[in-house]
Amino acid sequence: MSVVASRSGKSGIKEEAAAYIDQLYRVAYHLTKQKDDADDLVQETYLRAINNYAQFESGTNLKAWLTRILYNMFVNRYHRERKTVSFDQPAAETDISWLDTMASSNPGPEAQFLQAELKDKLKEALDSLSEEFATPIVLVDIGGFSYAEVAEITSCPIGTVRSRLFRARAVLAGKLREYVRHEK
């Protein structure tokens, strides 16, 4: 989803910026995992945006611009406090070896997935991901951004976004698959 800022003047931009509060909050919440931290992060994002308002180019993507400010503040503020896992580390968290052993006769997970319990499991699994894994999923599936926008927001090459998103989904699918198999 790409939303281009209104060219109809500052009052239009104010209204458009206000319309993104909820979307920015959801991204902030799934990055920080804390409601209070997300509240603070979104408030400070808007404050910083206004302080840097003169740098905003009319006609560009306001939602992506605000989200880039939010993400940079998140990285600067919360990154040091959180455990991060490099993609080079052979940690269990990054293990997607189940893909190599996936039996072609596996039944589809859709029916089980619709159960409310799995929603909680998925949230739990998302929260357990390291920042590198979680960020592209949050921005694409919760923020509604394209790969190009995520690349711009996170200052990563688009190929890295694509690869991390796949690996993150594969890790989450592996965790859910284990849960479903365990419950059977």
């Binding site: 500052k10 009052s11 104010k14 910026a17 206000a18 509060i21 909820d22 909050y25 959801r26 919440y29 799934h30 409601k35 997300a38 509240d39 603070d40 979104v42 408030q43 808007y46 404050l47 206004i50 308002y53 003169a54 740098q55 905003f56 180019e57 009319s58 893909l99 996936m102 072609s104 006769s105 596996n106 589809g108 997970p109 859709e110 997935f113 799995l118 929603k119 998925l122 949230k123 998302l126 999923i137 694409v140 599936d141 919760i142 394209s146 790969y147 694509r162 690869s163 998103l165 796949f166 989904r169 594969a170 989450l172 699918a173 859910l176 698959r177």
Partner: protein
């Protein structure tokens, strides 16, 4: 044996693209090739189903929770502080930024 190795390599190459397919981020040519592969590969179709479930499940998480009332009010008050005569980036600065 040769055929099996080729199929395995093909699956390996297509895995990442399955994720991109779900986000409509493939070129028409890539999409066509992947769909052709999915039509004959049960393993990759199973992976597609798992990845689709993850994507849809995460999307469902987007509806919760909501920002606090006090935070929303503070943000709206902050937005109202933007002076109507505050200039956006001038043309010469935009030009310098792009060069």
């Amino acid at each position: 044996m040769f055929g099996m190795k080729n199929k395995a390599m093909s699956c390996e190459q297509n895995r990442e693209k399955i994720s991109s397919l779900l986000d409509a981020e493939l070129s028409p040519g890539e999409k066509k090739m992947l769909e052709k592969h999915l039509s004959v590969c049960v393993t990759c179709r199973t992976l597609e189903e798992w990845l689709r479930c993850v994507k849809e499940g995460i999307s469902r998480l987007a509806g919760e929770p909501a920002i606090s009332k006090s935070a929303r009010e503070k943000i709206l008050a902050t937005l109202n502080q933007i002076p109507s005569d505050m200039p956006l980036m001038p043309w010469w600065k935009r030009l310098l930024k792009r060069s």
